[in-house]
Symmetry: C2
Subunit: 498 residues, 2 copies
């Protein structure tokens, strides 16, 4: 019997998935294993794979098959209909941007990234500005074309690539709530924490012992080491593909906690991917529901679960045993205070849970203004510096700790930043629902039992894949539409307790 | 100006090269880094890449471009004409086998390889026989189709995939010469070596020190660590792609020499790839000239250069320093005797330089007979055992040390084996020419100066790429057509000296 149009589409997308998985492993290799002199060659391999993916998605054959499958959809199951919808979504994104623009953007961002590295090293924005300008000009064209095709505002069209269904209207609503509450909250928390400063940890903590501890913790979480690895890289990330997860971290011999917290963050991403429905693997419907959902999973595990007392009750004896340490600085309460310190700081990736959204909201504002043309690229450093001072009360002394700190704009990822803060908000709302559903969660975590946590997440988040939009997923999992309320309750409860 | 047909072909083959390079890194990853449970997923990624390469090579577009480029060849340079010829060669190989047969062979060999592993573990040929039977039946079809397309005998058509231009007629001539001389020679050498047995090395040699020594030696050879790596894997191999070479070995803590000799072997392969002309990279003309030439480079470095006194004069102080050892067993003359011991043994990959061709010749005979149908798969164990006893005077006590020892037939690599012994013969002939051209070679090697060696190889072998056929390459490099004479002179001189 010949394959139906829908079945043929499944075949095509399985091929797409194989190419993307190959590319993902090659990117992991580039960050973790590859000799430095091989990057140009690797760039050619990745470009060939990406071009192939783009050709596949935009081929007339896929277009025809989609139309024929839509016209013969009556026999399809619910998840297959969702899969068709996601296939079409991917195709619409791919086809809206002409190949020449894709290629010009690829070249411009490759140049801009190299210049950004140099500019950041020298803290010299002027070096980077013309390249960012070029990227922005091309992105404006892309946003306009994509917006027209998807019937979205230009910025929303870009954001939709990272977090499908996330719109400025919802982002604005959430960020307005956060923006109203956070400045006062940050002030209160810092005052309060100043009254009970934690004892600092000092000493040397061998990387091999840190790695051993991390592997132990990951095993306890249920990370499947028969289908995944832990390695080290300059910037921690989660790579690979479900079925072959590769997470990385960076260990600091003077600090036994930061590398581990990085691993818990990345493990949150990895466990999401591991929990995606196996039966849908290789299909668009079997993917995660975008970067904001991804970030909700990493932040939930790192911030809400691990930087918390029950987890530290589980961790503390492991720390003592692994490093042969004891003393007041190693007590659970002290570790907790060390891990939830709130500070007015300049660097987003080092920021704590409470100030983090402020960093993100600044970038969101600025990138929208740049894209609209309201803010000129050359005026970015001053706008950045004055606004971060307004919001957080700290001012960069150079652009490396200001508008040159993140790679995102250089590589053209406009519309990505909101996912970080929206992810935190989602994590807060999931956490509240999870605690309601599992009253014994704290005791389980303290006993090193993570099965219940991941069972809940698998049932309510992971197993959904991309079969629902993000709003429905969150509504179903928590019984409410997404809002900042639960996260604010969580943060206030955690950081303003007596 | 629009691209000429030839230029468009270069683009297509650059894309092919990128896909193959990606696949090569993914295969390296599978052997060295990948978690065990991810092999099925990796199989899908590799299959998608291979299918893509096959589609590209067999596309009507490439066919049209080849015809148009041939018709407009007057403006092309010499290397471009060679490139066109190699493009056509690759296409003819790809198109001769219908896609359905390619796919059936891929599945049959995947199954057969798994069964081979099990059968070897249990030393039970009966488990493997029906799967080998299936592979052989499909290979017969392939050999017939390929032979018809290339105007070659079926076996030669298969061999041509591994070593372009290598034919049974030449193989037979060389193997007849070797077969006449080797039995007597082996007897004489073993008698002679028995008179001066070397002192055995004993002790433990830490893997990290062995690795350090190996890295030192590789650096001295000129291995480009900015574009390559050394790792460990179960079976040593050379992977990656020129510009990102990945070699592996396996260290034995009880034996400081075998891991290093493996690295020297693989470094011979890697230096060949490193020396291929950069200007032709990504094009068929820029590839190596097949497996026999590859093996000539690895054997030249391992057997003729490294298992020799000048190299050991360079290595000996490094061994003493690295492992903090001294004594009679570490003297150059003793190390030399340890490294050139000749033994009648059963396992090809552990065989010495002199008996090695006997193992290969046996496989060559058997695989031709199996392909012709002269020998039945079920009769293979007995044929193997009685013939290896005839030729070498040893008889396997089970099939794991007999006809189940190599993976080649399971994965369908009929026609591959001769390349190993022909590679040795080429190495012998190149070595003779090299020594004539560089009378100070021994002194250079003893001083740890490998520049002259690789300069000669680069000029005479590596830089040729695939611009010449193997016979012309050898004629140009050595002034003579390929024969076994030089290798026999070398072996007799080395192993029969007083």
């Amino acid at each position: 019997m010949p394959l139906s149009p829908y079945q043929q589409l499944e075949q095509e997308f399985r091929r797409l998935h194989a190419f993307r998985g190959a590319a993902s492993i090659l990117r992991w290799d580039a960050a973790v294993m590859m000799p430095r002199g091989s990057s140009e060659l690797r760039g050619e391999q990745l470009a060939a794979l990406e071009t192939e993916c783009h050709s596949l998605l935009t081929s007339p054959r896929v277009s025809r098959l989609l139309d024929r499958a839509d016209a013969n959809a009556q026999g399809l199951e619910h998840w297959q209909l969702a899969n068709l919808r996601e296939m079409r979504r991917e195709r619409e994104h791919a086809i809206a941007t002409p190949r020449s623009l894709v290629s010009r953007l690829a070249k411009a961002t490759a140049r801009a990234e190299i210049k950004w590295i140099e500019a950041r090293q020298k803290s010299d924005f002027a070096l980077f500005a013309p390249h960012l300008e070029e990227v922005v000009n091309l992105l404006r064209d892309k946003a306009r074309l994509l917006g027209k095709a998807l019937d979205l505002a230009p910025y929303d069209a870009l954001a939709d690539e990272f977090s499908p269904g996330l719109r400025s209207a919802e982002i604005d609503a959430i960020f307005t709530t956060l923006g109203r509450r956070l400045p006062g909250l940050i002030h209160e928390v810092i005052e309060l924490q100043a009254q009970k400063p934690p004892v600092e940890i000092s000493g040397r903590f061998s990387v091999s012992k840190q790695r051993q501890l991390a592997l132990d913790v990951m095993r306890t979480l249920g990370f499947p080491f028969d289908k995944g690895r832990l390695d080290e890289s300059e910037h921690p990330f989660t790579g690979g593909v479900p079925g072959d997860m590769r997470i990385t971290t960076r260990f600091n011999p003077a600090d036994p906690l930061t590398g581990l917290m990085g691993i818990l963050h990345e493990s949150g991403h990895a466990m999401y991917d591991v929990g995606l429905p196996e039966a849908w693997r290789g299909q668009p419907v079997g993917r995660d529901r975008g970067m904001a959902m991804q970030e909700s999973q990493s932040l939930l595990l790192e911030m809400l679960i691990s930087r918390n007392r029950p987890f530290l009750r589980y961790l503390q004896p492991l720390l003592e045993k692994t490093f042969g340490v004891s003393g007041p600085e190693w007590e659970v309460e002290n570790l907790y205070r060390l891990l939830i310190r709130v500070r007015r700081s300049l660097i987003r990736v080092d920021a704590d849970e409470v100030t983090y959204p402020v960093h993100v909201m600044l970038r969101y504002e600025l990138e929208k203004e740049i894209l609209d043309g309201e803010l000129k690229v050359m005026d970015l450093p001053e706008a950045w510096n004055s606004r971060i001072q307004d919001r957080l009360g700290v001012r960069p002394t150079n652009d490396a700790e200001g508008c040159l700190q993140d790679v995102h704009w250089a590589v053209g990822s406009f519309g990505y930043f909101p996912s970080y803060a929206i992810g935190a908000v989602i994590a807060g709302q999931l956490y509240e629902a999870l605690r309601n559903d599992r009253p014994a969660l704290d005791e389980e975590i303290a006993a090193g039992q993570f099965g219940g946590l991941f069972e809940w997440l698998r049932e309510n988040v992971h197993s959904v894949g991309a079969s629902l939009g993000m709003p429905e997923l969150i509504q179903n999992a928590t019984g409410r539409p997404l809002s900042a309320a639960a996260w604010l309750r969580y943060v206030e409860g955690k950081y303003l307790e007596d």
